[in-house]
């Protein structure tokens, strides 16, 4: 022990004392990279001696050396290099970039692994360059289009909205959740974090991951296949996203500042017939269809009234150019003592829609201490963040009639037409984790880590109604606490060409959630965002849930001469969500790889840099949100709507009954099990200038939870069973090139595209179709059917429009004409739906499968040009082969009797609408007075091709360095300009083919995606 302390003191002394004490001759030198630029903070050691030096900002160092000394030069991001000091001249050491080398190391489950030894399907994205010039609320949107098979869709342009991430195809089934998706597991610095809150406990709808400042992230690794993910066991079936935060690097403290401001422009909005055009359209509809004695509202006839003589652009009034500010600063450093990293971030993203926005305050501190002569390494991380999302209390209507004056019109005198109110959602997260690694003996290390995470969600909202003169206040708090304790033991010896790595570990985790909400309806609006309890007019509730997880896991990797690779892992998870009988699940995986380029036959093949074939198979799982589903939940009753105890007590005695909906004790309920097989090929050519990655996978998800109705005689309504199986098969391609075009011009590209085919294999109740319906009975128009992709559209099949009476079918047996929906007598100009079952009656049984909302191809294309200090970076994403429904248009074309003046109208000239016989129209008659509107939900005519190609971001930057401007007061300064959401090429007739729900509907209440022009400067001190 004493010796250890002495050693530590000695090392410390070495750092502080001038090295000249031991000097024979002081040599100056320089460390440069491949491009000849100086490397800052590189460590130079003399082998066998204690001499150490660190390069300064110019890459220079001073070191006492004698001829014949071996000098070891190391720097993070570069390969270590040994140089023998031969002559008395100045020493220049050239380092080669590590990231392009085979020696790249990735964080995988519970350990790191050299990239060339990885046998699973693992992809990584370095975030530093991305976050430096792009501003985003959450890192997920920055990953869009970067990894093959990771489909990220931004379904809404609302600041703070959650993107949908689906890795290798959708594998989530639900009867009543329109947008059920299969969520991956998120792990930050080895700690699984809370990435979402189950619907029952979601007080705010802000993206929970938006409180992770993307600028704090070093890299993101996605474990796509089961062999990589199975070590995360019961939560890994939908893939695992591993996030590594930035740490300090050796050398002098790195101080970074990144200041940027963006202007958010309003994109193309809905087309509106303004002013006279609206008046003309309404007049035309009245002329054509109005029944005798029906007259237009005065606002259309009273042309002289200035109140109605407007051409108001409501969208223009409520959508406005807004500003985004994003500031990040950090100080990081490292040395023999360990490392430190402290960062601060502030983002204020104003929404383009009135009264919306998102703010983030974040700070993160991470330190590492080396003790006992690096035998003990202690890490501490503390991250504190707050996000603050502002929204309108309800949906803000933006399509009032253009004839009505805008609220800023002097005639209206400031009257508010939209619902006044506030809704603020605040998420606070505190993450603290500490771990200690003890290197017990050579190649054997033990690591214990403890993590505490606290996530608080708060929402306060207030709205008042001018019509009823009542105010609503709502306040809610949700608390989520996550405690994790994990222990791992790693043994990684190397002997000869044999390299073995064995990991065993254990982890225990407990997640608690609690909510408290109160709301009231006051008889008079109070301008309070908190709840003031009026007497006898208050409702509050609270809820609690918790689950715990206990796991044991092990991973074994073996490689022989880095040529033949074998890996296996096993994890067993015990979850409190299961009954005692069925508590543990086992998740094994095996994988193998062959670095064929290392075989002797390829020894002299210059063009092949590396080549690997790999294959894997493994099992992983998922559970579900309801923590107590399997336990048989009892119900003590609740007050009825009149505050009577009638459902609680009988004769003053109260007791428990089963919960009739989901309380059937269900010992058989078990993990959703996913088995995935994967084969892959990684090759790179021409000294890694061209890299090609290919993967093919089959992912079979078995036992997805679904309810089945129980016979009424059991007393219970339904029971959850592991009943649905879904198969995803796909191919993934990635091509990366890295070309030096000469004269300082480099061009690198990253192209990836993935094909996925999704199919339902089995369903409960004898594979009965599931027509998705919300709990309140609203039909979503989606079907889950065996043999078809998930959530296919279940629509009436349009065959155009009846042009003549003779086209309307007549039953030859009875002579009766086909009857339309809602018993309508069909007429010319009506929609011609196919009578699928031939009963001469169009009703729900005539709906058929009419489209697949799951994208077939997804991908992205990145281009990076660098010329001297200039950089141009263009990121594109695309989706090919997806059906989406233009619900927004459908809703706007459906006119009811009182349509006039109620909303704005689309410009009918832009749509081919039937008016008279012979019109070759796409949309049927708009007759608002028809007994049944011909604009029908679930009309296959509104299914459109949802493919798009989107230039997501383009960045132009210039990098100032000391080399270019020697008098630059900083080490480095980059100025940049980024255009976000540049342009979308699509066939879709709506505004944006990406802004649709996971199940393929263009939600008309959606928030358009702003186009942002960002200017920023990033400074390194």
């Amino acid at each position: 022990m004493k010796a250890l302390i002495k050693g530590a003191c000695f090392l410390f002394a070495v750092l502080i004392l001038p090295v000249s004490v031991f000097a024979q001759s002081v040599v100056t030198g320089k460390v440069i990279d491949q491009k000849g630029e100086s490397v800052i903070g590189a460590t130079i050691k003399v082998k066998g001696k204690k001499n150490v030096a660190v390069t300064d900002v110019a890459g220079a160092f001073r070191l006492s050396l004698s001829i014949g000394d071996t000098v070891l030069c190391t720097s993070v991001g570069f390969q270590a290099r040994e140089v023998i000091y031969k002559s008395a001249a100045d020493l220049t050491i050239k380092l080669t970039d590590d990231s392009k080398a085979l020696g790249e190391v990735l964080v995988v489950g519970y350990k790191t692994q050299a990239k060339q030894e990885i046998t699973g399907s693992v992809a990584s994205v370095k975030m530093d360059k991305i976050t430096e010039t792009q501003s985003a609320e959450s890192f997920e949107s920055l990953l869009q289009g970067r990894i093959a098979g990771v489909n990220i869709q931004l379904n809404s342009g609302e600041p703070g909205a959650s993107p949908a991430i689906i890795i290798r195809g959708l594998a989530a089934v639900s009867r009543d959740d329109a947008s059920a998706i299969s969520e991956p597991l998120y792990v930050v610095d080895g700690i699984p974090i809370i990435s979402k809150t189950s619907s029952e406990f979601a007080i705010t709808s802000t993206n929970v991951l938006a409180d992770l400042n993307p600028s704090d992230i070093e890299d993101v690794v996605v474990l796509k296949d089961a062999s990589a993910a199975a070590i995360y066991g019961s939560r890994a079936a939908n893939g695992v996203i591993l996030i590594t935060t930035k740490k300090g690097k050796t050398g002098k403290p790195q101080i970074n500042l990144n200041i940027r401001t963006g202007v958010n422009f309003v994109p193309q909005l809905l087309d509106v017939a303004g002013g006279n055009k609206e008046r003309e359209q309404v007049t035309r509809l009245y002329d054509l269809y109005a029944p005798y004695g029906t007259f237009m509202p005065a606002m259309y006839t009273d042309v002289t009234n200035p109140f109605y003589n407007n051409s108001s652009d409501w969208q223009g009034y409520l959508y406005n150019t807004s500003i985004t500010q994003d500031y990040n600063s950090s100080i990081r450093g490292a040395g023999d003592f360990g490392q430190y990293s402290i960062s601060l971030g502030y983002m204020d993203n104003q929404g383009i829609l009135f009264n919306t926005g998102f703010k983030r305050y974040s700070t993160m501190a991470s330190t590492t201490f080396n003790a006992l002569n690096k035998k003990l390494i202690i890490n501490n991380t503390l991250a504190v963040s707050r996000t603050d999302q502002t929204r309108n209390p309800g949906t803000l209507e933006t399509n009032y009639s253009s004839l009505l004056p805008l609220p800023n019109d002097p005639q209206v005198q400031g009257a508010e037409i939209y619902l006044p109110g506030q809704n603020s959602s605040v998420n606070d997260r505190v993450r603290f984790s500490t771990d200690a690694t003890l290197n017990l003996i050579k190649n054997l290390s033990y690591k214990a880590s403890l993590s505490l995470e606290y996530l608080r969600l708060m929402q306060d909202s207030f709205s008042s109604s001018r019509r009823t003169l009542r105010g609503d206040n709502k306040s809610g708090v949700g608390e989520n606490r996550n405690l994790l304790f994990q222990n791992t033991l790693t043994y990684a010896p190397t002997f000869g060409g044999h390299k073995v790595s064995l990991l065993v570990g254990q982890s225990a985790e407990r997640l608690e959630s609690k909510t408290t909400t109160v709301n009231n309806v006051a008889s008079a609006p109070t301008l309070s965002e908190t709840v003031n309890w009026p007497i006898g007019n208050s409702i509050g509730s609270s809820n609690y849930t918790a689950n715990s997880l206990m796991s044991f896991f092990s991973r074994f990797d073996y490689s022989y001469k880095e040529k033949y690779l074998v890996g296996a892992s096993i994890r067993t998870d015990g979850s409190s969500k299961f009954g005692t009988a069925n508590r543990w699940g086992v998740f094994p995986s095996v994988s193998a790889g062959w670095n064929f380029s290392k075989e002797s036959i390829f020894e002299n093949v210059d063009w092949l840099s590396s080549g690997k074939i790999r294959g894997s198979y493994g099992l992983s799982g998922t559970t579900w949100d309801n923590d107590y589903l399997a336990l048989g939940i009892m119900n003590g009753g609740s007050l009825d709507q009149y505050n009577s105890l009638i459902e609680i007590a009988y004769g003053g005695v109260s007791g428990f009954t089963p919960t009739w909906y989901d309380g059937f004790r269900n010992e058989n309920l078990t993990w959703v099990k996913t088995s995935m097989s994967n084969i892959g090929l990684d090759v790179s050519f021409f000294n890694n200038k061209v890299e090609f990655i290919f993967d093919a996978y089959e992912k079979l998800t078995k036992g997805l939870l679904l309810t089945t109705a129980l016979p009424t005689t059991s007393g219970y309504n339904e029971v959850y069973r592991n009943a649905a199986n879904v198969l995803n098969r796909g191919l993934e391609f990635t091509v990366n090139t890295n070309l030096n075009l000469g004269r300082g011009l480099t061009w690198s590209t990253g192209l990836n595209f993935a094909y996925n085919k999704n199919r339902v294999i089995s369903l409960p109740d004898g594979n009965a179709d599931i027509i998705k319906t919300s709990t309140s009975g609203q039909d979503f128009g989606s079907i889950v059917r065996v043999g078809a992709p998930l959530n296919g559209f279940f629509f009436y099949q349009s065959q155009g429009i009846y042009q003549t009476e003779s086209q309307i079918p007549v039953d030859p047996k009875t002579g009766a004409r086909l009857i339309g929906l809602q018993n309508k007598t069909l007429a010319v100009g009506d929609r011609n739906f196919r009578d699928q079952n031939g009963d001469y009656f169009i009703n729900v049984s005539d709906r058929v499968y009419s489209g697949d909302p799951n994208p077939k191809w997804t991908g992205g294309f990145t281009n990076d040009f660098n010329y001297k200090g200039f950089g141009l970076n263009v990121v594109s994403t695309f989706v090919i082969g997806r059906d989406i429904v233009n619900t927004a248009l459908l809703n706007r074309l459906r006119l009811a009797k009182d349509f006039a003046g109620a909303t704005s109208l689309p410009n009918f000239d832009n749509y081919s609408i039937w008016e008279k016989s012979g019109d070759n129209a796409k949309y049927p008659t708009l007759n608002p007075w028809a007994d049944a509107s011909q604009i029908v939900n679930y009309d296959s005519e509104y299914v459109e091709d949802g493919s798009y190609f989107k230039i997501k971001a383009a960045t132009l930057s210039y990098n100032f360095t000391k080399k270019i401007i020697p008098r630059l007061p900083f080490d480095r300064m980059r100025v940049y300009c980024t255009m976000d959401n540049v342009v979308t090429f699509q066939k879709y007739s709506g505004p944006d083919a990406e802004l649709v729900t996971v199940d393929g509907f263009d939600n008309s209440g959606g928030y358009p995606m702003r186009r942002m022009l960002l200017f920023g400067v990033s400074i390194g001190l």
């Binding site: 033990y446 849930t545 009892m634 709507q641 009149y642 004769g651 009739w660 007393g715």
Partner: protein, 508 residues
């Protein structure tokens, strides 16, 4: 040093192993799990009470809270629709379409009537009893053997009663005597159900008390020996085992525990349930918080201002029908029940005041006489109802015995019991001694005595005579099952063994 570290590490592992089992036992704090719910005497008491509470809810009818396939916000007091509305005696003065459809036996397509075809809540009461019978025998903590036997007997009684009540409404019904029974149960013939009811009652009887603890209402709203015997007698009447029914009721009479109230005592019985005439009733009490408001209690639909906030009558017995049912009143106003059961309200008084009640109960004429057998405190500002819902009472079983005895040819015995009820009503004793006439008179007396108490339709259906009184039902229709309610669509979900009542396969 190294050894210490390794020892610590091993210790941590061992601790982790041992705490592992506890770590994974996560139980909710906002409710209990099945494992926690059956621990002690209080749990047992609560569970049995809960079975009675579910049955009480079942009588008022299911709502969309109970099953999403129905759209009804609140229950209407379905026991009236099952047991009274189709008797031909009722009208809806404001011509409500749903209520008319109910009177006319159009029970399927009306969305508000559809929930009445769903027996789900009866089977919930049955399942609760099944769980009680499975779980309570294992409980020893805070539960004496004697009390345990009583609770089990009560659960058995309630399970039998739920089957019995459902069988009267739907005819052939599935029998479920097993907890967590998710088998696709088919319908059993009505007689099988009734025989099961009789057997179950016989098993329960030895452990049931004549009186439970507390007031009459507290005692007799739970399982008692009298309630079980009344249930047995009713079931035996359906089985045409008149001797058995007569014997069961004789036991009730011999207990001397029950007696007819005076005519003035009827108010106490119907308003508070605290009457020696009560045999079994559903517990309601405002002071205990167990009441129903706008929804759930048929009695709010019978009444208007001055008893509730309603301005108009929803349900009524027309004057001509009253005079037909109560011939003695028509002749000389002798039948005191008319005065007790009907009232005429002065509708000319503003609805913002408590409306006065006319002295003559029939003053309002054909369509505006209030059925006022069940009342509440006069207060037009709220609908709060807490009158107990009667299930069996002494007059009911006396008349039932009279019918059984008459059918067995014991006319004098029959007349004795019939005349007890007649005497109380203030009408002359009945003296004819030919059995068919006596049987007919007993039936008429049951109609007079029990009007609006959810017995009339069951009496008629039991005898196959509903078509005589309800012009919308034919004799053949009744043979095909028109007297019973159709089975709801929901009962067919995941149950291939379910069958629709023959009549309702063709009459929607």
């Amino acid at each position: 040093m190294k050894n210490k570290v390794i020892a610590t590490f091993l210790l941590v592992l061992i601790l982790a192993e041992t705490s592992c089992k506890k770590w994974l036992d996560e139980t909710p704090i906002n409710t209990v799990t099945e494992e926690q719910a059956w621990k002690n005497g209080a749990d047992a008491e609560g569970a049995v009470a809960a079975a009675f509470a579910i049955f009480r809810r079942a009588l008022s009818g299911l709502t969309k809270e109970d099953t999403p396939s129905t759209t009804r916000n609140g229950s209407w007091g379905d026991y009236y629709f099952w047991g009274d509305s189709r008797s031909g005696d009722w009208i809806t003065p404001n011509n409500d379409g749903d209520w008319n459809a109910g009177f006319q036996n159009h029970l399927i397509q009306r969305t508000e009537l559809e929930p009445m075809t769903n027996w789900r809540l009866f089977y919930r009461a049955i399942e609760q009893c099944n769980l009680v019978l499975e779980k309570i025998p294992e409980i020893t903590d805070g539960l004496t053997d004697e009390r345990k036997a009583q609770l089990l007997a009560e659960a058995r009684f309630m399970r039998a009663l739920s089957h019995f009540y459902a069988a009267r409404v739907w005819g052939d019904i599935p029998i479920n005597l097993k907890a967590r029974n998710v088998d696709a149960l088919g319908r059993e013939p009505l007689n099988t159900v009734m025989r099961m009811v009789v057997n179950e009652v016989d098993m329960a009887l030895p452990n049931l008390l004549w009186e439970n603890k507390g007031t009459i209402k507290e005692s007799r709203s739970r399982g008692t020996r009298g309630a079980a015997l009344a249930l047995k007698a009713h079931a035996l009447m359906w089985l045409k085992d008149y001797q058995g029914a007569s014997d069961a009721i004789k036991q009730i009479m011999d207990s001397n525990n029950y007696r007819l109230a005076t005519i003035d005592g009827l108010r106490t019985m119907f308003d508070t349930g605290e009457s020696a005439e009560v045999i079994f009733e559903m517990y309601y009490d405002k002071s205990k918080g167990e009441y129903s408001d706008y929804y759930g209690h048929i009695m709010t639909y019978y009444l208007t201002n001055p008893y509730t906030s309603r301005g108009e009558l929803s349900l009524a017995v027309p004057k001509s029908k009253i005079l037909e049912i109560y011939p003695d009143y028509a002749r000389d106003k002798s039948d005191k029940r008319v005065n007790e059961f009907f009232q005429s309200i002065d509708f000319s008084v503003s609805s913002s005041e408590l409306r006065p009640i006319f002295a003559d109960p029939l003053q309002n004429g054909e369509r505006a006489i209030m059925f006022a057998k069940f009342r509440k405190v006069k207060d037009r500002t709220y609908n709060l109802m807490d009158a107990p819902v009667p299930i069996f009472r002494y007059a009911d079983v006396l008349l039932l015995k009279a019918e059984a005895d008459a059918r067995l040819g014991r006319v004098s015995e029959a007349l004795e019991n019939l005349n007890k009820v007649r005497t109380r009503a203030g009408i002359p004793t009945f003296t004819r001694d030919d059995a068919p006439v006596v049987i007919e008179e007993v039936l008429a007396e049951r109609r007079r005595e029990l009007i609006g108490e959810f017995h009339r339709v069951y009496d008629l259906v039991r005898l196959g005579r509903l078509h005589e009184f309800n012009s919308y039902i034919t004799e053949q229709g009744e043979k095909d099952g028109a007297g019973f309610f159709p089975v709801s669509d929901e009962a067919f979900a995941n149950n291939p063994n379910m069958e629709q009542t023959y009549y309702w396969q063709f009459n929607q």
